[in-house]
């Protein structure tokens, strides 16, 4: 009559049980188990130069065969000290730097800075500017997501979707370039509004671009989404639990794919999002599975929602009465003494600026909270115990920009 649970017995035996390779993982030994049966672990550096890291992220993996024993993300290869640089720039110059840390969501990055300063100044932004900002922010979101919808399949070995994604990106980038002059670093926000008004006929061209992207999106969907190999590679791989998300401060589409329903567009509405939400145009996309497939699914769905939101903004801009898109600023713009925290729902997650001002024309401190940094921190939790091929699938599905990690 053995009353002792087997689990306890196992715990007792831990000190002498010999395991080989993987099997030894749970026994609290040095890796590889007993002396005679030791298998040597291999250290594999993914990066800083590696096709899967889109830049200079470095993952130091310890491998047992192809299985990852430990993973240590090493960041900072692209650290540019942007927070320190902010301190010696005036607010217009900060916009230049701020739109570069996450180079795929430049408009969203600019937005946080100007919103912080506007809030400090108690500045009222013209209504046309608000709607144009919303429109551009959503187009920027589409651009960002399309990039990852193209690059994720390429990490899984499908070489074609990225070209389709880039065709759509090009369509939208053309209208973005027409309005702002830039294709990635728009530099179109100013404190109090936007740099200049829209060119005549731009609204129509943007509607056409949005419609074109929407009509061609099924191609990417057909090519990737239903593919059995793609599903086999992603479904059930890299499941991120809501607890881990809360623990690591993961946000954005990745968090929503695990059912953590946080979207600042709804939960702390800025720009015109409250109205769009009330109209039912803005839907918050969530999934519960939390695996790579759910993350990709959220991205795809968000593109569709963003295109709808962009359409709603365009209709609204047609209806709005004539009005300015910016306010006249003093020659030297100084934020009053105090501090504020402005956060926005950037395409990749929560992007926040903590602005402390001593009443000078430069901030005393401008703390930058980027989405990718937190999203990458959770990687070791996801990667340990997976195989190298899954590493690529998981890493790619964490949707990060190295500049956003390293700041």
């Amino acid at each position: 009559m053995s009353e002792t649970p087997a689990t306890e017995r196992a715990a007792d035996l831990r000190a002498v049980t010999v395991g080989i390779g993987d099997g030894a993982a749970g026994f609290g030994h040095e890796r590889g188990g007993g002396v005679d049966l030791a298998t040597q672990d291999m250290v594999l550096n993914i990066g800083p130069q590696h096709p899967a890291t889109h830049g200079v992220l470095r993952l130091r993996l310890t491998l047992d065969g192809e299985r990852i024993v430990t993973c240590e993300p090493i960041v900072g290869y692209m650290h540019r000290g942007v927070e320190k640089l902010f301190e010696v720039r005036d607010y217009r110059q900060i916009i230049v730097l701020a739109n570069r840390h996450d180079w795929l969501s430049a408009f969203g990055n600019e937005l946080g800075v100007v919103m912080a300063v506007e809030r400090m100044l108690g500045m009222e932004v013209p209504v046309r500017a608000i709607w144009i900002r919303t429109l551009l922010a959503e187009l920027n979101r589409v651009l960002n997501h399309l990039m990852f919808m193209g690059s994720y399949p390429i990490e899984l070995g499908a070489i074609t979707p990225i070209f389709y994604a880039f065709r759509e990106r090009e369509t939208i980038q053309q209208v973005m370039e027409e309005v702002s002059g830039g294709r990635m670093h728009y530099m179109f926000n100013r404190v109090g509004g936007l740099k200049e008004d829209l060119p005549a006929g731009w609204l129509g061209r943007t509607s056409a671009a949005v419609a074109a992207v929407r009509s061609r999106l099924p191609q990417i969907e057909d090519l990737v989404f239903g593919n059995e190999i793609f599903r086999a590679r992603t479904v059930g791989v890299g499941v991120l639990s809501p607890e881990l998300i809360h623990a690591y401060g993961v946000s954005g589409p990745i968090a929503r794919a695990s059912g953590v329903d946080l979207d600042l567009r709804r939960d702390d509405p800025y720009l015109a999002y409250q109205e769009l939400l009330d109209d039912g145009v803005l839907r918050i996309v969530t999934r519960s599975a939390g695996d790579c497939f759910a993350r990709f699914d959220v991205l795809l769905e968000q593109v569709k929602v963003s295109l709808d939101v962009a359409d709603a903004c365009l209709t609204r801009l047609h209806e709005l009465p004539q009005g300015p898109v910016n306010v006249r600023l003093p020659k030297i713009l100084k934020a009053p003494e105090g501090s504020t925290y402005a956060w926005t729902e950037n395409p990749l997650g929560i992007n926040g600026y903590y602005l402390v001002s001593r009443g000078e024309k430069t901030p005393w401190r401008l703390k930058l909270r980027t989405a990718s940094f937190n999203n990458i921190s959770v990687l070791p939790q996801l990667l340990e115990g997976r195989v190298v091929a899954d590493m690529v699938a998981i890493l790619g599905s964490m949707f990060f920009v190295v500049g956003d990690v390293d700041k």
């Binding site: 720039r89 217009r92 110059q93 916009i95 230049v96 730097l97 570069r100 046309r128 074609t160 065709r167 090009e170 053309q174 370039e177 027409e178 309005v179 702002s180 002059g181 830039g182 670093h185 530099m187 740099k195 200049e196 008004d197 829209l198 060119p199 005549a200 006929g201 731009w202 609204l203 191609q219 057909d222 090519l223 990737v224 989404f225 239903g226 593919n227 059995e228 190999i229 793609f230 599903r231 801009l317 047609h318 709005l320 009465p321 004539q322 009005g323 300015p324 898109v325």
Partner: protein, 183 residues
């Protein structure tokens, strides 16, 4: 996933459809792209407008504008008047290896001496060759397109308003007195 392989077939269909369609590639060196007027290709300098106020050089977040100047004094035209001094531009160079294409210099220029041109073909083999002096910047001025018309719902630009007032003034009958007044 209804049937095994249906996803694969859908994918194969997509690639096949694209195979038989026209490509979207731009034939760049043969066909030049049409860029919108706001495109930030290169900064052109209207040298005649520059007063060496140094605003652009000071505001540039990358400190990539180099300006040298000297003062020239025009002696007073009338006896007892003051001598007038002018800033003469000696050097105006933009280091495009540092430039972040943020367009702050163009925005701050009070005399419209700087403009964006969509011209982009000025790559060099050596990074130091990317410092372009004022004669090159002046050349680019010829490629600057007129600004696009603005959206009708937008506020009228203040330049147009000012021009309209001026035009109205000119169209109105000249004031009866003081015909030799300052114009």
């Amino acid at each position: 996933m209804t049937r095994l392989g249906s996803g694969l077939l859908a994918g194969l269909k997509v690639t096949w459809r694209n195979l038989v369609r026209r490509s979207v590639t731009q034939h760049y060196p043969d066909v030049k792209p049409e860029l919108p007027p706001r495109s930030r290709g290169v900064i052109a300098l209207q040298e005649e407008n520059c007063t060496v106020c140094m605003l652009c050089a000071r505001e540039c977040p990358a400190w990539c504008i180099h300006i040298d100047s000297h003062k020239e004094v025009t002696p007073a035209e009338v006896e007892g008047g003051r001598d007038r001094s002018h800033n003469m531009l000696d050097r105006f160079a933009i280091d495009f290896s540092l430039c972040m294409y943020c367009s702050i210099c163009i925005e701050v220029c009070p005399f419209d001496a700087l403009h964006w041109s969509p011209e982009f073909e000025y790559a060099e083999h050596d990074i130091t060759d990317l410092v372009h002096e004022k004669d090159r910047l002046r050349e680019w001025m010829w490629t600057v397109p007129p600004p696009p018309a603005l959206d009708p719902a937008g506020e009228e630009p203040k330049e147009i308003k000012a021009a309209e007032i001026a035009a109205a003034k000119r169209a109105a009958p000249p004031p009866p007195v003081d015909p030799a007044g300052p114009q």
